[in-house]
Symmetry: C3
Subunit: 159 residues, 3 copies
């Protein structure tokens, strides 16, 4: 049923942190895979993992298919069905899209980690990393990127 | 569309683990942000990340708005709609609130990481960390807190 | 309300990565707890955390009750209700079970971390780690296991 691969070891003691600002244009999925890969290249990352953390409560982080854009259309539809607007929410002072946004953010989450191998994200073939915007209007969303592991360039990676 | 900030580097090789017991009073959200911050202060944490892990299957961890309490009321309502009691569950020996609790725990999750900068959680302005209790009656819930990163006080933080 | 335990410190700088292939037999939950524990034993892990990462978009990772199998039956039912087949999805070229699979994968997530203490997973009494297969037919799923922490055997664990 299961099978384990060869094992890779690294001596790793470097933590590198930056913040990524993402401008969304309203409800939908905004891919940041290329930005995360660029960050890893810039810091000469080797093996480890990158923590991706979203500092908001009405948007979320999602790893999903980056091939057919229809998938993201359907994901937005699915989230609307799970957390509809005008569903008798008590908290409605910030508009009909706000409380559904909180529910969607809770379900999807705002914190995820992706393993890094040889300086690149160990994503599956069809996986991309997305900021899912749940508000109707454009927002500026802030993402913390934090690599923990080994870097090739010790001058860059250590203090 | 996106913009990367300045980058911070740390040489970090300390892992500090503790367990936090949380007494819940039944269904609802119980904030533990202050407890996690206190843990980070106590161990003189600097840069890194804290893993927050809940050792249960009918409660969950949620990062959500800590301003208007109506938001948490609506989140409880939303979860009840997504996983109603008396919905023909096969597993009903532990009461009508048990199986819905498992569903809610699966959707929200029990494992999350928050980046730590200068010894404090890098939460967004409106974010708090909550244990979401999905059972009707009070429970004692156990949370593992594990900081990985650099600590200021090497006597405390290293063995 | 809350109570913090004694604190454990470790000097930890080892990252060990492997991939686990999991053969699923179609929709359902497939436990990998024993495989993750075996990996930790094989690398002489001590304290730290293991990142479990699934490289797919129509399956997910779930930590849930491993006692009564009825719970997993009900979890499958719950997911089918939340993301039904034939619900007017735009993306339907890969079969009626594909788009619901993407929704379930988004809700459950594909990335989680479990703390490791004394070389063993710090799971709760009733917790098991599962690959949740959301497609109707058997699939080969790939999981990245990455331990970050201290290992007892420095020859094995460091380069």
């Amino acid at each position: 049923m299961t099978e384990l691969s060869a094992i890779r070891n690294t001596k790793a003691d470097t933590i590198v942190t930056a913040r990524l600002a993402v401008a969304t244009s309203g409800e939908g999925f905004f891919e940041i895979t290329a930005e995360v890969k660029r960050f890893l290249k810039q810091i000469s990352a080797r093996d480890g993992a990158v923590l991706i953390y979203l500092r908001h409560t009405s948007a979320s982080l999602v790893i999903q298919e980056n091939a057919d854009p229809d998938v993201r259309t359907d994901l937005v539809t699915a989230l609307r069905r799970l957390a509809p607007a005008n569903a008798g929410w008590v908290h409605d002072v910030e508009g009909p899209d706000d409380m559904p946004g909180h529910v969607k953010s809770m379900l999807n989450g705002v914190s995820l980690q992706v393993p890094v191998e040889d300086g690149d994200l160990a994503l599956g073939t069809w996986q991309g990393v997305y900021v899912a915007e749940h508000r109707a209007t454009p927002h500026r969303r802030e993402v913390v990127l934090q690599f923990c592991g080994a870097c090739a360039d010790s001058n860059t990676a250590r203090d």
